[in-house]
């Protein structure tokens, strides 16, 4: 999976550079996030601007990150979600579970 990691204040910004998250790469994403949390990097922002497609396994990978950061008293936020991708969160009502923002700054400034 094509990922970039940046540090902004106390947040680790995970930039997903693939256009598609599905059962082919979602395990890799899930494991990567779990490794970040194990390293103590439990304030995570996932930047989804490049992602134009996500399936149920992709949502599951993000949900795993959400649950595991919260278990470590961290934060897990999603930013820059494209409209069609956002509709998947709405259909599963996961938009009420995740912290969702328009930009990285919106998370780090608050």
């Amino acid at each position: 999976m094509n990922l970039d990691l940046e540090k902004v204040n106390k947040f680790n910004v995970l930039i997903i550079k693939d256009e598609r998250i599905d059962a082919h790469n979602s395990s890799e994403l899930k494991d990567y996030i779990l490794q970040m949390i194990e390293r103590g990097e439990n304030h995570i922002i996932v930047q989804l601007a490049h992602v134009r497609f996500i399936d149920s396994s992709g949502l599951g990978a993000l949900l795993s990150g959400h649950k595991n950061t919260l278990a470590k008293s961290g934060r897990f936020a999603l930013v820059n979600i494209q409209q069609q991708v956002l509709s998947m969160f709405e259909l599963t009502r996961l938009n009420r579970v995740f912290e969702i923002y328009d930009s990285v700054n919106e998370v780090t400034d608050n």
């Binding site: 599905d22 497609f53 399936d55 149920s56 396994s57 599951g60 990978a61 998947m88 259909l91 599963t92």
Partner: protein, 141 residues
Amino acid sequence: MCPSIIQVDVIIPTQTKYLDLIGSIGERIARELDSYTGDKAALAYQLNLVLTEATANVIKHANDENQKDTVRVSICLHQNVLNIKVYDHGQGFDLNSVPEPDFENPKENGMGLFFIRSIMDSVTYTKSDNENVLEIIKNLN
């Protein structure tokens, strides 16, 4: 086989790297529907998703000891009815025993079939000795 405006049959190995290909076919078909008056971009996403989820489910449960198993996908558009059939050689499952997701306590798995049911108008699964088939239908009027 049905007399159709568009008929696409694809056979792929049961490997997740082909999900993009299968999903993209659905997306392209949606974009070719000149007479569809709804949100074509949304339909394109939905067909990509339904084909991806249905195919991924087959791959997950594939009988692939020798990694030679295949999944066959048939897409047929006829008189504004889109009929998708996804064939598998696995043990099969009972469609009615698959529960709705628990929205209050969401789980990491089990949302795929919910997507298919939510987006499409009809979903059936038929088991047989040689081959099982998941048939999903969407009316495009």
